[in-house]
Symmetry: C2
Amino acid sequence: MVHGHEAPRTSRQRILEAAYLVIERDGATGLTLDAVAAEAEVSKGGLLYHFPSKEALVSAMMVGLCEAFGAAASEAAEADPEPVGRTVRAYLAASAGEVGRSRRWLALVGALALYPELVDIWRADVLAGLVADEEEGIDPAAAAIVRLTADGLWLSGVLGLSEVVADVRPQVLKRLEEMSRSRS
Amino acid sequence: MVHGHEAPRTSRQRILEAAYLVIERDGATGLTLDAVAAEAEVSKGGLLYHFPSKEALVSAMMVGLCEAFGAAASEAAEADPEPVGRTVRAYLAASAGEVGRSRRWLALVGALALYPELVDIWRADVLAGLVADEEEGIDPAAAAIVRLTADGLWLSGVLGLSEVVADVRPQVLKRLEEMSRSRS
DNA sequence: ACTACTTTACCGGCTGGACGGTAAAGTAAC
DNA sequence: GTTACTTTACCGTCCAGCCGGTAAAGTAGT
């Protein structure tokens, strides 16, 4: 970490980043082992050394994105002084923020069609959020609506419908904020 | 058309139905021309006579689903005595109803990854809904939240996360109903 | 410090199967 | 005999995963 210290990126990291790049650029169907290997400047054999199958690669991508989302949410939660509904608001913030709007999701959802089991990674996170809500004593229905609306917003972004709802977006966000403060 | 009148289903219809069946059963990746042809008991050439490409087939599936959704929504709208927010409520009802929860969507979204342009079919419907809202004088933010939450609910179903939110579902629906009655 | 062996990391050609699509021939109704 | 529909047979491409090989970096016994 002294100066000049190039990222000592491992091959594995390089490959993962290349995979994100490829899927953003070429879509889910463009995500082939050859393409990723080329982008990462590794041979296909090398790629398969680090990720024994395509599914393993996609799984790692999924985990990576979920972690990034979780990190963004945690950050938002820590910065929030009000305990009630802190977790939902963090979820909302993360969804509305950079990670939530990343183009990476779009294609990755497409890739999910290939390996439906990978939704479980997601499911676990959703579950954890609901548990947190309950502990915070927030009105469960309100919390659910906030989360679901955030998901809907996310979806509209993924499907490229976000311009359609762009006008009301700020107001929606404000309303959800308010709802997140209602106790049960 | 006398009695006993089996569906005089055209080959085209048979093929479309077979396609839905296959995609429900085998997922987006299982939707191959061969599989659909086999299921419809037509030869592959026969299939391609009616749908000149796979994209044409998927497009027809998309249109069919959107029409079914639209029909369900229209029905709900007509049965609704209160004019304000009628369209949003219809949207909500359709989403929460049979068509909205159909497993067909699941895989079809996956197939969208193959032909991203097909989202436009969708987009048109979304736009039409927003226009209707405006004419009804409903609070736009409330309307948006209702719609987006419905989408979130739909998404949770598609991703198989619906059991997770099953408990709050009725309450959420009730709240949304209420919101749909707020004037602008 | 030299040798023998193992592990880690990586290369790249190959293959076998799947899949979208084509084309020509056949059938039957009108 | 022409139109509408259907079949059979085939082609070309793409791609995941496999596999034989290599080279450098440990590890350890002597």
